[in-house]
């Protein structure tokens, strides 16, 4: 490749996926050129960010060459040739998939998860497998067997979690798109911490087949991107019914792109008071208030008289249901069929030693919590009670969406906290997900979009939509993004600079 094309590829890496797709079709750059530029930038940033567990250079270049062929033949899908980061919770055939756990540090899946299959068919280029909190349990990416990921805006702070690697690499310009999973905020909270767009789809919108299971009734795979249009592009490619996941919904996937460019005029936006909690950082509150003013000034109808009275119970409901499901899902790691194995004298000793050494502290804590909540004598008091309160919360959300198109809240009560600040205090860490957890409990789609800065760190605005109304979220995120212009703000480490 010559110098001019090389320069153009680096320049294009700074743009969005839809702009890169246009440049690929115009012949300004090849998929291979773009992949080489992405690999070079990611590799240059890894010593300070640690956003990836496994880099996939050889696979990436082969995928890029295949995409170039399809682009030349004129039958390429929109994502053909676009570099993408994949959370290391998503199974990739033949490529190590660790869940950031000692338990799976050498595990190589024999199948692709459905979303990876769909992206392969679309011609996307996988740059690597991104870092996360072990088994997606955490809000800071500090609970990873492979070391912490650093926030590109301030290397002494967390990128959020659990999908911290996927958020950091998009924010730092390594790739325009990445995939995360969101069980209690694990896409939206890191998107907020890193100043990008992150969307949790409606439960059942995206297949979970081949995604290493944590809490099956709560989690969804979703996109990270630098703008709403890119997030819509990626969701379009992964959404839909999957015969391999019987919890996917038989609901047609609408044309999300058609929802863009429609503005905010006439959108009925509720601002539920329970999400503006006492401990909220003043700078976060100010940024969210300014965003509400922007919505109002552009024709949205703001309703501040909205209440979801039981939403404060979402956090305890989550910390009963998610660990309960986790304790069942993680029972499969017995050191027999795959994964870490410790030697001992008897079968039971081996199993206890394998699990004791294979899982990290946070995972053990949640397995213990879930086992307790499901154990004889406590099932009704904890698990069944939590499932009933879940119904109450769902009903409150459904009532709110009868008269509103969107609910608007902060994504998190604070900006990204400092590394080590909360890792020793599980309850303080859990409280960080106060604003994101309710949408997992109710199943509603929700997106975090950048809405300003506090302490020099990005602030996230959360928009929650009605069931299967991702299109409305894209419409609002696109319109607000165009007016507010936060996308142009880049972290100091952006690109090759700042090392």
């Amino acid at each position: 490749m010559n110098g001019v094309a090389d320069f153009r590829a680096r320049e294009l890496l700074d743009l969005t996926a839809h702009e890169q797709a246009a440049a690929l079709r115009a012949g300004e750059v090849t998929a291979r050129g773009l992949a080489e530029a992405s690999i070079a930038r990611v590799r240059a940033q890894e010593p300070v960010l640690n956003a990836y567990i496994t880099l996939m250079d050889d696979e990436a270049l082969a995928m890029a060459d295949a995409a170039d062929e399809r682009l030349r033949a004129g039958n390429a899908a929109p994502l053909a040739g676009i570099p993408i980061g994949v959370k290391d919770l998503l199974s990739t055939r033949g490529v190590k998939t660790t869940a950031a756990s000692n338990m799976l540090r050498d595990f190589t899946p024999i199948v692709d998860c459905t979303v990876v299959t769909k992206l392969r068919e679309a011609g996307a280029v996988f740059i690597g497998k991104t870092n996360l909190d072990e088994f997606a349990m955490g809000s800071s990416t500090e609970h990873s067997k492979f070391g912490v990921t650093h926030n590109p805006w301030d290397l002494d702070r967390v990128p959020g979690g659990s999908s911290g690697g996927s958020a950091a690499t998009v924010a730092a310009g390594g790739v325009p798109l990445s995939l995360g999973t969101d069980t209690g905020g694990s896409i939206r909270q890191p998107a907020a911490c890193c100043g990008i767009v992150g969307l949790k789809p409606t439960y059942g919108r995206v297949s979970r087949f081949g995604v290493i299971a944590f809490a099956s009734s709560l989690e969804q795979v979703g996109p990270f991107a630098r703008d709403a249009e890119d997030a819509a592009l990626l969701l379009s490619a992964i959404a839909g019914l999957d015969p391999l996941d019987s919890t996917t919904a038989p609901v047609p996937v609408p044309d999300y792109a058609a929802m863009l460019g429609r503005g905010l005029d006439g959108l009925r936006v509720g601002v539920p008071r329970e999400f503006f909690v006492d401990g909220m950082e003043p700078g976060v509150r100010e940024a969210v208030e300014r965003a509400i003013d922007v919505f109002a000034a552009n024709g949205a109808i703001i309703d501040r008289d909205v209440s979801l009275p039981s939403v404060a119970a979402a956090l305890p409901v989550y910390y009963i249901i998610a660990p309960s499901e986790a304790s069942a899902n993680l029972a499969r790691y017995d050191g027999v069929k795959y994964g870490y194995h410790a030697d001992a004298d008897t079968m039971w000793e081996e199993m206890e030693l394998t699990r004791g050494q294979g899982f990290g502290d946070e995972v053990k804590r949640r397995i213990m919590l879930g086992t307790y909540a499901l154990s004889t004598g406590y099932y009704d008091a904890y698990y069944l009670k939590a499932q009933k309160v879940r119904t109450v919360i769902r009903r409150e959300f459904a009532a709110a969406f009868a008269s509103h198109d969107l609910l608007l809240t902060p994504t998190a009560p604070t900006v990204a906290f400092r590394l080590g600040e909360k890792v020793g205090d599980p309850v303080a860490m859990y409280l960080n997900d106060l604003c994101t957890i309710p949408a997992n409990i109710s199943g509603n789609p929700a997106v975090s979009i950048p809405c300003g800065f506090s302490e020099g760190m990005p602030v996230g605005l959360q928009l929650v939509g009605g069931m299967f109304e991702e299109g409305t979220l894209f419409r609002a995120a696109d319109a607000y993004g165009a007016v507010a212009g936060w996308k142009a703000q880049r972290p100091p480490i952006y690109g090759e600079r700042g090392r």
């Binding site: 595990f107 009734s217 029972a331 027999v336 213990m368 109450v392």
Partner: protein
């Protein structure tokens, strides 16, 4: 009510999770604190409210029972920690 060390060991046993004495002490404190936070649920009236098992209500999905190719022997054994021939080797189950 704080958990006792005995209760923590009992739960660990149910979960087949090997824990050290230091872990038992730490888990006892942390789990007790977390359980206290669950008490707010008692304030919510759930009389006559059905439980939610997942947020999008779907009935069972059925498909025709048609045979199709499954994973190969080699694939299935590829990640097993201990194998012998075409078997996974395990410890004696019955003493």
């Amino acid at each position: 009510m704080p958990l006792t060390a005995e209760e923590v060991r009992h739960i660990a046993r149910l979960a087949r999770l090997g824990v050290t004495d230091a872990e038992v002490a730490r888990l006892r404190e942390q789990l007790s604190t977390i359980l206290e936070h669950f008490e707010v649920l008692n304030a919510i009236d759930t009389e006559g409210v059905p439980p939610t098992t997942q947020s999008f209500d779907l009935a069972n999905i059925e498909r025709d029972d048609v045979s199709r190719p499954s994973a190969t022997h080699a694939d299935v054994l590829a990640n097993a920690p201990r194998t012998e021939g075409s078997y996974i080797r395990v410890r004696r189950v019955l003493e």
